[in-house]
């Protein structure tokens, strides 16, 4: 079965090879069982396995300065509610849901300060360009935003993103391709 991206880039649904960077969900299940038994180092390992993904999902929605605190919150909520997780294989998707909810909560609350626009607070051209690129990604449609942050910021590969988020590899590839196309257009238009 062949799918096409924007009408010009062929991909194959079933042609994705097993990626060594994609961690086995059965290992998650073992760690979750141990964490439920009070083994905090097991929960620490879950944290390490999934923190980049949670960081990326949050970074797609909230200011960079707030992300570390919210990552902390997400894992505290996960630890507290670990007993309610019925399907250990769904742990990554469950974490993403918690992260998105925390991001939504963040935007609901009134705040004393807002993130500065890219041009304020830096004289370093590279820093400015980096902020502008992140802002540009955040301005993309929802479907492309998280996928691009996970790939370009957190360094996750497409197969890993698919495995963690529950999206099909084809969807991730489409999101990356179309998102990158729109990002190129925005940066080309907005670059000083």
């Amino acid at each position: 079965m062949e799918a096409r991206l924007d009408g010009n880039l062929p991909i194959r649904e079933a042609a994705v090879p097993e990626d060594p960077t994609v961690e086995n969900t059965s290992e998650d299940a073992q760690l979750i069982a141990a964490a439920r038994d009070g083994d905090r180092s097991a929960f620490g390992k879950l944290y390490e396995r999934h923190t980049r993904m949670v960081h990326g999902v949050l970074l797609a929605h909230v200011p960079f300065a707030e992300v570390d605190d919210l990552v902390h919150d997400v894992f505290l909520v996960a630890l507290r509610k670990l007993g309610s997780l019925r399907e250990p294989g769904a742990f990554a998707g469950w974490l993403i849901t918690i992260a998105r909810n925390r991001a939504t909560d963040f935007h609901r609350k009134p705040r004393a300060s807002e993130e500065l626009p890219a041009e304020i607070g830096t004289t370093d051209p590279e820093e400015y360009e980096a902020r502008a690129a992140l802002e540009a990604i955040r301005s993309l449609p929802e479907a492309y935003r998280e996928t691009l942050v996970l790939r370009l910021v957190e360094g996750m590969k497409g197969p890993e993103i698919a495995a963690r988020t529950g999206l099909t590899p084809a969807s991730v590839r489409v999101n990356l391709h179309r998102g990158m196309k729109q990002l190129r257009e925005k940066l080309g238009r907005e670059r000083p």
């Binding site: 991206l5 880039l9 990626d19 960077t21 964490a35 439920r36 038994d37 009070g38 083994d39 905090r40 180092s41 929960f43 620490g44 390992k45 944290y47 390490e48 923190t51 980049r52 949670v54 960081h55 990326g56 970074l59 960079f64 992300v67 570390d68 990552v71 902390h72 894992f75 505290l76 630890l79 507290r80 509610k81 670990l82 007993g83 309610s84 590279e126 820093e127 360009e129 980096a130 690129a133 992140l134 790939r151 370009l152 910021v153 957190e154 360094g155 590969k157 497409g158 197969p159 590839r173 990356l176 391709h177 990158m180 990002l183 190129r184 940066l187």
Partner: protein, 338 residues
């Protein structure tokens, strides 16, 4: 040029994608542990020696800056930061603000509409529910002690075992790596519900190890009863209440024990293991017989060991219940001054 590099990093790098990746590297999340010991970090190979040096150097700088920032919060264990306030909870009689801190000696009170969420890096998160009265007795790196006079708290603890301790009028709840809810009625009766891990609930000689999913009640002048799963039969729970807290009528007590043993499922074996200290010597044999029928004892453990309530012999039985062992790898609990 195709999208292979964007997809999985294979193929010839797309220069623009590579440039944006390098730009955005500064926003990447660290994989620091949240205060969980014995965490090993996986290291991924880097593609080129030069890049490795650049990343190492940047990493050292970031780590140093982060360590300074993080240590400031991490090593301050003298107060809990308020993370969420609903309505108007009171701290020492004054309205508690969103930016407030809770220090040793402070009394925190909520009324019927207010609640508070607090946190401390390296220790955990605490929620004070409505109609509660809680005093922070001690706040240090080695000990976080609270007195819950009435009301309800929800705790998620990431501190080492036996650092997080809650006094109630009828027992002491000592965290062993867990999340739990603790409710205290106006008469001092308390109910502990463990959602993750284990809690050691004790007073005097009475000790209950409460695993995830189980509950335990404590009564004034008696202390904690044997813990139980709340999905046990109604008859089991009613009879257990008599075994735990009513010794006024020996015949009724003995009959209640018969009901508990008869109604116990394999899942309730941990309740029976908690009963050896709570029943008369002559009844311990009955508890052993039923427990052995549900979960065969470890090799070498005899009925006589159970009658003698020999903790060294009975301890390994926990391992066979399929719910882990609360004290495995943990240090001994501290002595509590009454």
């Amino acid at each position: 040029m195709n999208d292979d590099y964007l997809w999985d990093g294979s193929g010839s790098p797309d220069p623009e994608v590579e440039r944006i990746e390098n730009l955005l590297l500064r926003f990447r999340g660290s994989q620091r542990a949240l205060g969980f010991p014995e965490v090993s970090r996986e290291r991924r190979p880097v593609p080129a020696q030069k890049l490795a040096w650049m990343l190492s150097f940047a990493g050292v700088i970031l780590l140093a800056a982060f360590s300074v920032w993080y240590a400031r919060g991490w090593f301050r264990h003298d107060s809990w930061s308020v993370s969420e306030v609903i309505d108007t909870p009171q701290l020492n009689g004054h309205v508690l603000r969103q930016s407030g801190h809770w220090k040793a000696g402070d009394l925190l009170e909520t009324d019927s509409t207010s609640r508070v969420e607090l946190e401390m890096p390296g220790m955990g998160q605490l929620e004070i529910e409505p109609n509660s009265q809680v005093t922070l007795l001690e706040a240090s790196a080695d000990k976080q002690q609270f007195r819950l006079e009435r009301g309800e708290i929800r705790a998620v603890v990431i501190a080492p075992p036996y650092v997080f301790l809650v006094h109630t009028p009828t027992a002491y709840a000592m965290d062993m790596g867990c999340a739990y809810t603790l409710h205290v009625d106006d008469d001092g009766t308390s109910l502990l519900r463990v959602t993750v891990g284990w809690v050691d609930l004790q007073r005097g000689w009475r000790q209950s190890l409460v695993p995830e999913g189980a509950a335990a009640e404590s009564r004034p002048d008696i202390g904690p009863g044997a813990p139980y799963y709340e999905d046990a039969s109604e008859r089991f729970r009613q009879a257990l209440e008599i075994v735990n807290f009513d010794e006024s009528d020996p015949k009724a007590h003995s009959a209640a024990l018969t009901t508990v043993l008869g109604e116990a499922r394999k899942r309730d074996a941990f309740t029976l293991l908690n009963l050896f200290k709570r029943v008369d010597v002559e009844d311990r044999g009955r508890v052993y017989d039923r427990l052995a029928a549900l979960v065969p004892p470890p090799p070498g453990v005899t009925r006589e060991d159970a009658v003698n309530d020999d903790p060294r012999k009975l301890g390994p039985w926990w391992e066979l219940l399929g719910i882990g062992h609360a004290k495995k790898g943990f240090k001994a609990p501290p002595r509590i001054e009454e």
